[in-house]
């Protein structure tokens, strides 16, 4: 189990879901995530689970809804256009407070876009995505190994908060092969994002009312004031998540000349640029949000007290930078801080050389 294996991101993530106890997978074909349903269709029968190729993305997310209603760990995966279609179901899950894991192997957009790696679904992922006042937790791995760990954690956080959790990767991470080590699920619950906390009892699932009163799962609240009350209840939960679950990786940020701020694939490339800049005598730090919602605003703001040069690297057109600006603005006027942007939309992937060159431009 703990021997490292060489594995493709999409397949490793599927195996991680199984390790986390996911026994229900519902999906629909779309590139670049097709390895996930293919892997699940082979593995689910082996572990006594259910793989079902749904008639649509819409049906798939509603099957995740149904499995959650019945108390099971369930997952769907897709890529950007498919995730757009799932937003209806995600909104209903958030409203009904149902757990579930949704994987988005992001591709270029808008529209059908292309099948190249992209981070263009940042706003959609971190701002709710569907209709209504709600939040989904968003976990952003930057290696295949981290895809495994965060996918396992996603199921725990979904159950802990009764909320949908998004794992946001991209075509590059999904398609690349890397050494991975599958953690022991019990260990992962201690060392991962769950941090050893107990999961709440499933005293709300629908299993038939034998020996108890009938239960109801709904998001329609028509009584005057009832929905507002529910929204405030959700807000409290979201505030708790913001306090408890925010996570970022930092490398050499404290005394950096410039902080390279990026997540996922962009952060991975930024790490190479950091080494390159070091060789050129420039102290560059890395700030990599692991949770995109909740976003590590406070920590980034703290760093902005000492550091006044940032470079945001994103494979989208100025989406992620807005959160960086919001964070920095908590401590300083944006006039006092220079935040550069290297944006590569439409499937463009930045090179370390490009990042290093742009970083030097941002420096005095």
């Amino acid at each position: 189990m703990n021997r490292p294996v060489f594995m493709k991101g999409n397949e490793a993530m599927a195996e991680a879901a199984l390790l986390a106890g996911c026994r229900y997978y519902f999906g629909y074909p779309i590139t670049p995530q097709n390895e996930v349903p293919a892997y699940m269709s082979r593995r689910m029968p082996e572990v006594g689970g259910v793989f079902l190729q749904a008639e649509s993305e819409v049906a798939a997310i509603n099957m995740v809804f149904g499995a959650a209603v019945a108390g099971a760990r369930a997952m769907t995966s897709s890529s950007s256009p498919g995730i757009s279609l799932k937003q209806e179901g995600i909104s209903y899950m958030a409203g009904c407070e149902l757990p579930g894991v949704i994987v988005n192997i992001v591709r270029g957009g808008p529209g059908l876009g292309n099948i190249s790696p992209s981070q263009a679904d940042y706003w959609q992922s971190t701002r709710g995505g569907g209709h209504g006042d709600y939040r989904t937790l968003v976990l952003a791995p930057h290696t295949v190994n981290e895809m495994v760990e965060l996918t396992m954690d996603a199921f725990d956080l979904a159950d802990l908060y009764r909320n949908p959790v998004l794992v946001l990767a991209d075509g590059l991470l999904g398609q690349m092969m890397e050494m991975v080590r599958f953690p022991d699920p019990i260990e992962q619950r201690k060392t991962g994002l769950l941090r050893g906390r107990d999961l709440p009892p499933q005293d709300w699932t629908l299993t038939g009312c034998q020996g108890r009163s009938p239960r109801l799962i709904r998001s329609l609240l028509m009584k005057p004031g009832a929905l507002e009350e529910h929204n405030f209840h959700l807000e409290k939960k979201y505030a708790l998540i913001e306090r408890e679950e925010t996570k970022a990786e930092e490398i050499d940020c404290e005394d950096a000349d410039i902080i390279l701020t990026a997540y996922g694939t962009s952060a991975r490339i930024a790490k190479s640029a950091q080494i390159m800049l070091g060789e050129q005598g420039i102290k560059a730090g890395i700030f990599r949000p692991i949770t995109l919602w909740p976003f590590p605003y406070n920590r980034l703001a703290e760093l902005a007290r000492r550091v006044d040069r940032f470079l945001v690297i994103e494979m989208s057109l100025g989406q992620f930078i807005e959160d960086v600006q919001l964070a920095v603005a908590r401590e300083k006027s944006l006039k006092q801080v220079k935040i550069g942007l290297l944006a590569r939309p439409g499937g463009g992937v930045p090179t370390p050389e490009e990042i290093a060159a742009r970083a030097r431009e941002v420096l005095p």
């Binding site: 079902l52 819409v58 049906a59 509603n62 149904g66 499995a67 019945a70 209903y92 299993t207 109801l216």
Partner: protein, 252 residues
Amino acid sequence: MSLKPIFTRTPGLKTTPTSYCPGCGHGVAHRLMAEAIVELGARGRTIAVAPVGCAVYGYDYWNFDTTEAAHGRTPAVATAIKRVLPDRMVISYQGDGDLASIGLAEIMHAANRGERITVIFINNTNYGMTGGQMAPTTLAGQITTTTPYGRNVDETGHPLKIAELLAALPGVKYSARGALHKPGLIRKAKSYILNALKIQEANLGFSIVELLSSCPANWGLTPVKAVEHLEKVMTPVFPLGVFKDETPGQEG
């Protein structure tokens, strides 16, 4: 000498006063479904999925576990519940907008997969909850809020016959259409529901009962006139009967 009860309220229903319009068929359909569930001893292991539409409030009346679903996605939600809990009775209750329009993909594929669920389909030839718009089941010439000149079938299609359509699929083991406007037909409708639930109990496949139901408020008719309309205008378009019954011993 003690009195022996020969008729009681079904424990399948709560005592909630109805919020449905006068003459609406949903209340009758709810009761038939609840009675059938209780008669099969299944109340404690039933999970119902309520649609978007008038019957979204089904859970106000049904005395068993119930979840809502997004509009038309009811069969997808029911599919997963049944896959997770195969020994439970899973019922998808849907109206004609929910099932025959926005949810056509979900119902066709759940039926085609032969999901072990039972669908109760209320056909009242319009969208009730939203105030009476055209549904796929709307009759030719019928006036609705979105067909003010009457439904022109050349432009908007013909009334969709769901019970016949689904009966053609191998995964469907029971498909029948009943009506709720006469005592005899109501009793027959209940027997259809019982048969459909037994198909599910026997793990044979998908079962559906379509029920023609009156909607006086949106038809612009009194309840009495609405019943006449159902009998004289609706049933010739939507014939009553069993279109498929693959209960063992019932074939042919």
